[in-house]
């Protein structure tokens, strides 16, 4: 049994290998070279992520290929999303810098978990088999359960971890049952093989299994990407988890979840099926289900977000709403739009959470929107970036959020979902209310009580600078990123027809 037949290809999983080894190295460092210095652990983590990012980018342009007996696939889609999740992880490392110090948390295990989570996310973006999808999701969620509960002496954090865990495991069971039923219908778990099977007529039993299986998969993915009505865990977890972790949760695992969702949707359900085939019927059902989910998600997320008084909860609901926008991209089957939106969302949301983390400070004490009153002119170094991010989240032109939204809307419109687009733009207006409310509180209200200014540590300064510049760069000069995406399109044109 030669290496070729197994499809062993180390360079294909090099980013994962590097990150996993870095995680292990961190743990070993803790054993043999103990220190509570966050700097050393952080630098090791950053180095690992940086090398992994380089490894990912070096793969750019390699022809589309599967590896490990069809378990994973290497294409530009995977590389792009892997790059996104690695960048999200890098930003999360910067965000955690201070948090670890203030909470006196032992840093190595934290960073190791972050890296393992990154491994899971990267695998998720490349999985080409339902088994890999399942394992990738589990690797991500198991690490993040722990990260969510990392402030161990704080009840909110513990409860967040608990709720996340129970609902996460619950949804995993649904996902798994879906996988089992799909396997029962098609006798395989490989995505291409499933597509081949679906391109033929199935018998009644198999079709029924496929339908229910697809519905279960949808539930499972719905949980992972915080789509309504499977979003219930999101606000609590986002509120309770330590803010840097929340920032990470809202972008990294979500991007990875969307990658897997998109992969499954597009490869299994998005192909051009013969008219008589089982896939055709399934495809339309799937798309309309996702469309309904998108509408519910964005509307619900935005409406509830208005009523929130806690900024973390507000951002949680906003994150749900944004998931709704991204689902439009899945409906439109335009993965580049989704990819761009996730890049934009990563940059602006991490930035927003960076400010929130900084203001919340030790023990997540100042997280009410009221606590921001009078911040505006007193600390422009914080309020200005936050305003930029909020404006970008609203989707005002000139910022990353606008270009991303614009593209999604355009794709959905071209795909013929004009109603969806109209609902989405109405939602955008709704969202303006609560995003700009924060701006109001910051700039238009006087401080209720005297607050000492928050120091701006270097790591945060760097993060904020990068994210603000990124927001404007993506908003004003997106051409370069577009052209990368464009190249990718030609490389995997057959992924979505």
């Amino acid at each position: 049994m030669g290496m070729e037949r197994l499809g062993i290809n180390y360079s294909a999983v090099l980013p994962e290998i590097i990150m996993a080894l870095t995680g292990v190295a961190l743990m070993l460092m803790e054993a043999f070279w103990p220190s509570r210095s966050k700097r050393r652990a952080g630098l090791v983590a950053l180095t690992g992520l940086g090398i992994a990012l380089i490894a990912t980018l070096r793969l750019w342009g390699t022809p589309r290929q599967t590896a490990y007996a069809g378990m994973i696939i290497i294409d530009d889609f995977r590389l792009l999303f892997t790059a996104i999740v690695i960048i999200a992880s890098v930003l999360a490392v910067f965000l955690s810098w201070n948090f670890l110090e203030e909470e006196r948390i032992q840093p190595t295990a934290y960073f190791a978990l972050l890296l393992f989570c990154a491994v899971g996310m990267a695998l998720l973006t490349s999985s080409h088999d339902l088994i890999m999808v399942f394992l990738g999701i589990e690797t991500v969620t198991i690490s993040t359960y722990v990260l969510a509960g990392y402030r161990r002496d704080d009840l909110r954090s513990t409860e967040a971890a608990l709720k996340y865990f129970i609902l996460g495991a619950f949804s995993s069971a649904f996902l798994l049952y879906g996988i089992a039923l799909v396997y029962g219908a098609t006798r395989t778990t490989n995505l291409s093989a499933i597509q081949t099977v679906l391109n033929q007529p199935l018998n009644d039993a198999e079709r029924a299994l496929m339908m229910v299986g697809a519905a279960m998969l949808l539930i499972g993915f719905g949980f992972k990407v915080t789509a309504v009505p499977f979003h219930v865990w999101t606000p609590d977890v986002y509120e309770g988890a330590p803010t840097p972790v929340t920032a990470f949760l809202s972008v990294g695992p979500k991007a990875a979840g969307f990658a897997a969702f998109l992969r499954v949707s597009s490869l299994v359900f998005g192909a051009d099926f013969d008219l008589a085939s089982a896939g055709r019927a399934l495809q339309s059902d799937w798309i309309s289900a996702v469309a309904v989910m998108a509408i519910l998600t964005m509307t619900f997320g935005n409406l509830i977000a208005i009523t929130q008084t806690n900024i973390k909860r507000m951002l949680a609901y906003s994150s749900i709403a944004h998931a709704g926008y991204v689902l439009m991209g899945i409906v439109a089957r335009d993965w580049q739009a989704v990819a761009f939106y996730m890049i934009a969302y990563t940059v602006m949301n991490i930035g927003a959470f960076a400010v929130v983390a900084l203001i919340a400070r030790r023990g997540d004490e100042r997280v009410l929107i009221e606590d921001y009153s009078g911040l505006g002119f007193r600390q422009p170094t914080l309020s200005f970036p936050l305003t930029v991010f909020l404006i970008s989240l609203t989707g005002i032109p000139g910022t990353a959020g606008f270009v991303g939204k614009f593209w999604l809307f355009k794709s959905a419109w071209e795909a013929g979902f004009s109603m969806l687009v109209i609902i989405a733009v109405i939602n955008t207006v709704i969202s303006a209310y609560y995003y700009l409310y924060v701006v109001i509180v910051m700039f238009f209200r006087e401080a209720k009580r005297e607050i000492e200014p928050v120091p701006l540590p270097g790591a945060f300064g760097f993060t904020l600078a990068v994210t603000v510049l990124g927001t404007f760069y993506l908003g004003l000069l997106p051409t370069r990123v577009f052209s990368y995406l464009n190249q990718a399109q030609t490389a995997i044109a057959h992924l979505i027809h």
Binding site: M71, C117, I142, A208
Partner: protein
């Protein structure tokens, strides 16, 4: 004969599951689950999935449920006394939900009745499983090591005392 065995095992499994649903003491719930698992082991043997049958006992019964019992005993959790109404409505939701789900599944399952292909003989052997695990499923197998490592670190981090 085989059908009789199936009915016995399935009956035990169902009793265990229903008991799990009804019991309020987590200890009894755990033991009910154990019963179900034992019955499932019997079914796996009937399906000639020997390897799965054995590791079912080893992992589920031998590790997971023991862990549960350990935690239950650690906190010496007795009956959860309080009866709250907050989730009462969920119970009423659950019943129709259950009927729909079960009906749907059973309907689908019945569609399969037409083709009772014989159960495989070769497939369940440990050697076959092992061979496949280390060839086609090599990468997932390796990924589980990361997963378990993350779980171990996580569990230690969370549960350790300062």
């Amino acid at each position: 004969m085989e059908q009789l065995f199936f009915i016995i095992f399935a009956g035990i499994a169902l009793i265990g599951a229903v008991n799990l649903l009804l019991r309020r003491n987590p200890l009894y719930a755990a033991l009910s689950l154990l019963t179900t698992m034992a019955a499932l082991t019997g079914l796996y043997i009937m399906l000639k999935a020997y390897f799965i049958a054995v590791i079912q006992v080893m992992i589920y019964a031998g590790a997971i449920v023991v862990l549960f019992l350990f935690v239950i005993m650690l906190f010496n959790i007795r009956v959860v006394e309080r009866q709250t109404d907050r989730r009462g409505y969920l119970k009423w939701l659950a019943l129709p939900f259950a009927i729909i789900l079960i009906g749907q599944f059973v309907y689908i399952a019945r569609l399969f009745e037409g083709n009772p292909t014989p159960v495989g003989t070769e497939v369940g052997l440990t050697e076959m499983v092992g061979r496949k695990l280390f060839t086609a499923y090599l990468l997932p197998f390796e990924v589980t090591s990361i997963l378990i490592l993350a779980a171990i670190i996580g569990a230690v981090v969370l549960a350790q005392k300062e």
